[in-house]
């Protein structure tokens, strides 16, 4: 049933940087193939860093897989602050005229570094220097923006959770500013309400931090405190906190026998993290990265803006062992979730 669906963001026409379409490409790489001496991929990970068993790790995994296949030099950079990220990005821009490599690709794994482009307003991609941002376009910089929407999968999660009789839920989110988080939250709530679930957005969402890029790295003590007071009465927790999800899962492991809280894995299949993880929503960033690199390394056209949705190969929903009875419910609402996502994105 699933097939790739590429949505060219309508926002492009508003931003007005180019009038590209799915079949067009503003960058055309040479088709000579890569060697470590010819091609460099320079990947900047979020400040929270890898080791999250989720989104960042998947990108890192995809990059390393791609390196095995396409034989480029790979530099993985883990900035500890915005300042060091700025320095790394500056290095990339400073060396655009260098002859050291035939092709260079800068990959930003989140939109949190977008603002750093402000210092390079004249930047234009060319045959030699390419930028990929794994996130949503919010400005007019000359770069490829590739992203995966989790609205549809989250809608299916909310729809099914309520359908399984779980009538007291809570969303734990990293921050209210990151667009990908808001998409997932909207999807979950819409699906939950579609199943006649009651969800109070003022009471049933907890944000760990206020600012974009934050909340993905919270302290374990937060979860001890939060569960002791707020969360322990809930039956299902929808987690959109990146690496902070690990602390939720740790807490669930510790108290699982007594509280029986359920939750879901996010971005990767995380069913091993706790027996209370009923299913996982998989955002296959590793495959997305592989797809881009394959095209970049072999000289194929590169879509400027690429947006993968629920019914693409880049999104998955896997039911955990022991929760097989959930599978038919997910199946029942799959088409509805895809349709809901289409409508959500159109309305935006």
């Amino acid at each position: 049933m699933k097939k790739a669906l590429f949505i060219i963001l309508t926002t492009l026409s508003i931003i007005g940087i180019c009038s590209c379409s799915n079949s067009e490409s503003i960058v055309s790489s040479k088709a000579e193939g890569c060697t470590p001496e010819d091609c460099l991929v320079y990947t900047l990970y979020s400040q929270a860093g890898i080791g999250d068993f989720g989104y960042q790790d998947l990108i890192y995994y995809g990059m390393n897989l791609a390196k095995e296949s396409y034989h480029f030099s790979l530099e993985n950079v883990h900035p500890s602050s915005m300042k060091s990220a700025e320095s790394y990005i500056g290095t990339f821009f400073d060396e655009t005229d260098s002859d050291k490599y035939r092709q260079r690709l800068l990959v930003l794994t989140t939109e949190e570094f977008d603002s750093l482009f402000a210092k390079h307003p004249e930047w234009k991609q060319d045959l030699k220097n390419t930028i990929l941002v794994l996130g949503r376009r919010e400005n007019s910089i000359d770069a490829h923006f590739w992203d995966i929407s989790l609205y549809g999968a989250s809608y299916l999660a909310g729809r099914t959770v309520k359908d399984m009789g779980l009538d007291s839920t809570m969303i734990l989110a990293a921050n209210p500013k990151t667009q990908a988080i808001q998409d997932a939250i909207s999807g979950f709530i819409d699906g939950y309400r579609k199943s006649n679930g009651f969800f109070d957005v003022n009471r049933d969402i907890l944000y760990l931090e206020d600012n974009e890029g934050e909340g993905f790295n919270s302290q374990m003590s937060y979860f001890y405190a939060a569960f002791d007071t707020t969360l322990s009465e809930k039956k299902f927790i929808f987690p959109v906190m990146g690496g902070s999800n690990l602390n939720l899962f740790r807490y669930m492991r510790e108290v699982q026998d007594s509280l029986r809280i359920l939750s879901c894995g996010m971005d990767a299949n995380q069913e091993n993290m706790s027996e209370g993880i009923a299913f996982s929503i998989e955002k296959k960033s590793d495959s997305l990265v592989m797809e881009f690199i394959e095209k970049w390394a072999t000289g194929q056209p590169l879509e400027t803006d690429f947006f993968a949705t629920f019914d693409s190969k880049f999104v998955g929903l896997t039911v955990s062992k022991g929760y097989e009875e959930w599978a038919p419910h997910f199946k029942k609402f799959e088409d509805e979730a895809a349709e809901a996502e289409r409508k959500y994105l159109e309305d935006k």
């Binding site: 929270a48 995994y61 302290q219 374990m220 001890y224 690496g243 690990l246 492991r253």
Partner: protein, 713 residues
């Protein structure tokens, strides 16, 4: 290039295998001693091969026409006779360095031989990837050619117990092999469990396979809350798993590092078991990149083996860059990370080349490896500062990572105290816990300190200097002279041996003699006077005394000499020294007179344990004693200064000062928990066993810290 030519001349005489990328490509010979069974060997070999691949890439990025890679001679640790091997190695001239063995006892055997194998002033460096027995630290702590890339089992024991705490178990039992290899667990497990306020219910210790079956049977048939299991090797596992299955797998069970062995995946009833093993740093990405490349996760210790090669490669570059002719000295240089420079996670090829360039340019470096920061110098120049542990499960006959753990916690790991702090918080709430398990104290209203150095001669400079360093620190923390009684002979500044008359410096050269108010010259006091001073009995002779009550804490630091039956006091008319009887009398009278809320005594003397046993024997509530050495051993002087011709400090005191300096008085949350102080001094004090007395009658050492003793109130 001249330097590079020199380097090539220093390389081994092995035939070179060139990749064709470099004009000159040589191989440096390493001896790698690891278990080469069919499950493990492919892992070690692929790690070495991967490292060589990355090293070659790194050289490519440097755009040099010369490079080296490692040529490895493999020794099967499971089959080789370690004595014969060690003996043979003493005669080998072609080996640049040794990596391995894995097992601590084997490391000890090889290291003993290498200790005697002096090659014109240098020794073959030995990097042990996973030697975790704490005694190895003591034995080779001063050897500049010996390095371990893993923290000792003291840390692993605490990590395991933190998981027990997280399960809300009330007590824990230990099923363990009696081998020397596991001795550290036996030495520390009970103490650490008590610190976590976990009862230790049973210790099941087995010598052989017959006892193993019997002990495993008991461990799972007795009603234990939780069992931690430290097998000798994977071959113990079938009997343990058989007993576990027989009793319905009901008891929560967690295995230590020795169970993380691919061989166990073939055993029956292995599904679902959990354990802790030594792993890579989560932030290094090593585990993920490994899976991307080899389609399966690494085994325990693989990141450490990779890092051993990384360090040797960097050291070899120092040799190349003419830092030293010798690899052992260069290794010390490579691990002396400069924390003022940005850490570079250097196990991948491009960042590896950045570090290599820095070395060649003579810049300082700060290396992050696959296993974490490779800063070894700041601990004790033997063991890695931080080790990451993997919490694993076996699912579908494969090891699956559940989380990463570390002692102190990082961005991606939970600290061992996170759970216990929370659970301690819960149990301190009257509605949720039995308060009788905590020792209660009245609110604190003030602090006093008594600092005493009991030696008089220039030769014992360190005793007075150390006391002055502590005095200066306490003053900087806001304690005034009305709350500190300072007893030193005060004859150093004007001593004829002092090369800088009028001054006294500490071992780092800092001046410590400004604004000092000495209350008594030690030679003017008698041992009995201490009781009067501590109980506020002022007299014409004793003008400075401590006027304290049950709301005030007292801190005493004693530096001097000791004998098996007494602590040495300056010559006096009674010929008296300070004995156990003096100590007992002080403890009795101060407790019965309620002269303190809590009292912490620290002794930097030889045989200090003899006096400190009084604390345990008396068992007075709120008294705690930490000794630099137990009752049978001497404590050790360190930091010899050839200009002053004396040792400048003692090992235990130096470590105490290191922790004291970490206390940030301006940060209300800064503290040095006493358990942290104890662990640190135990792990880093060379040549003696730091010992703790009367912890049972003091309360949690996690909660109580130095701050409540050494700051103004």
């Amino acid at each position: 290039m001249l330097l590079f030519a020199l380097f090539l001349a220093a390389c081994s005489n092995q035939d070179s295998v060139t990749s064709g990328k470099f004009h000159n490509e040589k191989q440096v010979k390493l001896l790698v001693i690891l278990p080469m069974d069919s499950a493990s060997a492919p892992h070690w070999k692929r790690t070495v091969s991967w490292f060589n691949e990355n090293l070659e890439d790194a050289f490519s990025h440097l755009a040099l026409d010369s490079a080296f890679t490692f040529d490895v001679e493999w020794i099967d640790e499971n089959k080789a006779d370690m004595d014969s091997l060690g003996d043979a190695l003493t005669r080998r001239k072609d080996i640049a360095a040794i990596v391995g063995p894995i097992h601590s006892q084997n490391v000890d055997t090889i290291a003993q031989y290498m200790q005697g194998a002096n090659r014109n002033g240098n020794r073959i460096p030995l990097i042990a990837p996973m030697a975790t027995a704490a005694e190895i630290v003591r034995k080779y702590a001063n050897e500049k050619w010996f390095f371990s890339l893993t923290d000792s089992d003291i840390s692993q024991s605490e990590i395991l117990l933190s998981q027990v705490i997280a399960s809300y178990a009330k007590s824990v039992s230990l099923l363990i092999s009696s081998s020397e290899e596991q001795k550290t667990f036996l030495d520390w497990f009970t103490f650490q469990a008590t610190e976590f306020e976990l009862g230790v219910k049973n210790l099941y210790i087995y010598d052989d396979s017959v006892q193993l079956a019997e002990m495993a049977e008991r461990a799972f048939s007795d009603k234990n809350d939780f069992v931690v299991c430290i097998p000798q090797s994977h071959s113990d596992m079938p009997k343990i798993l058989e007993a576990y299955k027989k009793h319905g797998k009901k008891t929560p069970l967690l295995f230590g590092n020795t169970a993380h062995d691919k061989n166990i995946l073939g055993y029956s009833d292995v599904e679902g078991i959990e354990g802790i093993s030594i792993g890579a740093s989560p932030e290094s990405g090593f585990d993920i990149a490994y899976v991307a490349k080899f389609k399966e996760p690494p085994v325990a210790g693989e990141a450490q083996v990779y890092d051993a090669l990384l360090l040797i490669a960097f050291a070899q570059l120092y040799v190349w860059n003419d830092y030293s002719r010798f690899l052992d000295a260069s290794l010390s240089k490579a691990i002396a990370n400069d924390s003022s420079t940005n850490e570079i996670t250097a196990w991948e090829s491009i960042p590896m080349s950045r570090i290599m360039k820095k070395i060649l340019d003579g810049e300082n470096i700060n290396i992050g490896g696959a296993s974490g920061n490779l800063d070894i110098k700041s601990a004790n120049e033997v063991f890695a500062v931080q080790t990451f542990y993997t919490h694993w499960k076996i699912l579908n006959r494969a090891f699956v990572q559940v989380e990463y753990l570390s002692l102190s916690g990082t961005k991606r790991t939970v600290s061992t105290t996170a759970s216990s702090n929370w659970i301690n918080k819960i149990i301190t709430e009257p509605s949720k816990a039995d308060s009788s398990i905590l020792i209660e104290y009245p609110p604190i209203k003030g602090n006093f300190a008594l600092l005493i150095a009991t030696s008089e001669s220039w030769l014992n400079y360190r005793h007075q200097a150390d006391i002055l360093s502590i005095y200066k620190k306490l003053k900087s923390f806001g304690m005034d002279d009305d709350h500190i009684v300072l007893i030193i002979e005060d004859n150093l500044a004007e001593n004829s041996m002092n090369p800088k008359p009028g001054t006294i410096i500490d071992y780092e050269g800092n001046s410590i003699y400004e604004d000092v108010k000495v209350d008594y010259r030690v030679s003017k006091l008698l041992p009995d006077d201490l009781l009067c001073i501590l109980t506020g009995k002022k007299s014409e002779r004793l003008h400075s005394v401590i006027k304290s009550d049950s709301t005030q804490n007292i801190f005493v630091f004693w530096s001097g000499h000791g004998m098996p039956d007494w602590l040495t006091w300056p010559k006096n008319e009674n010929g008296e020294n300070f004995t156990q009887q003096h100590m007992e009398q002080i403890l009795k009278e101060m407790s019965s007179g309620k002269y303190f809320r809590k009292m912490l005594w620290m002794f930097e003397t030889c045989y200090a344990g003899n006096i400190c046993e009084s604390f345990a024997e008396q068992g007075q509530k709120g008294t705690l004693c930490i000794a630099a050495a137990n009752k049978n051993e001497t404590s050790k002087a360190v930091e010899f200064n050839s200009e002053y011709n004396v040792y400048m400090t003692n090992s235990f005191t130096k470590n105490f000062l290191h922790k004291l300096n970490q206390l940030d008085i301006n940060d209300a949350f800064s503290d040095i928990p006493l358990n942290d102080l104890y662990y640190y001094t135990v792990k880093n004090t060379l040549g003696s066993h730091v010992s703790l007395y009367n912890a049972d009658n003091y309360g949690s050492l996690h909660i109580s810290g130095l701050r409540e003793f050494v700051t103004a109130r």
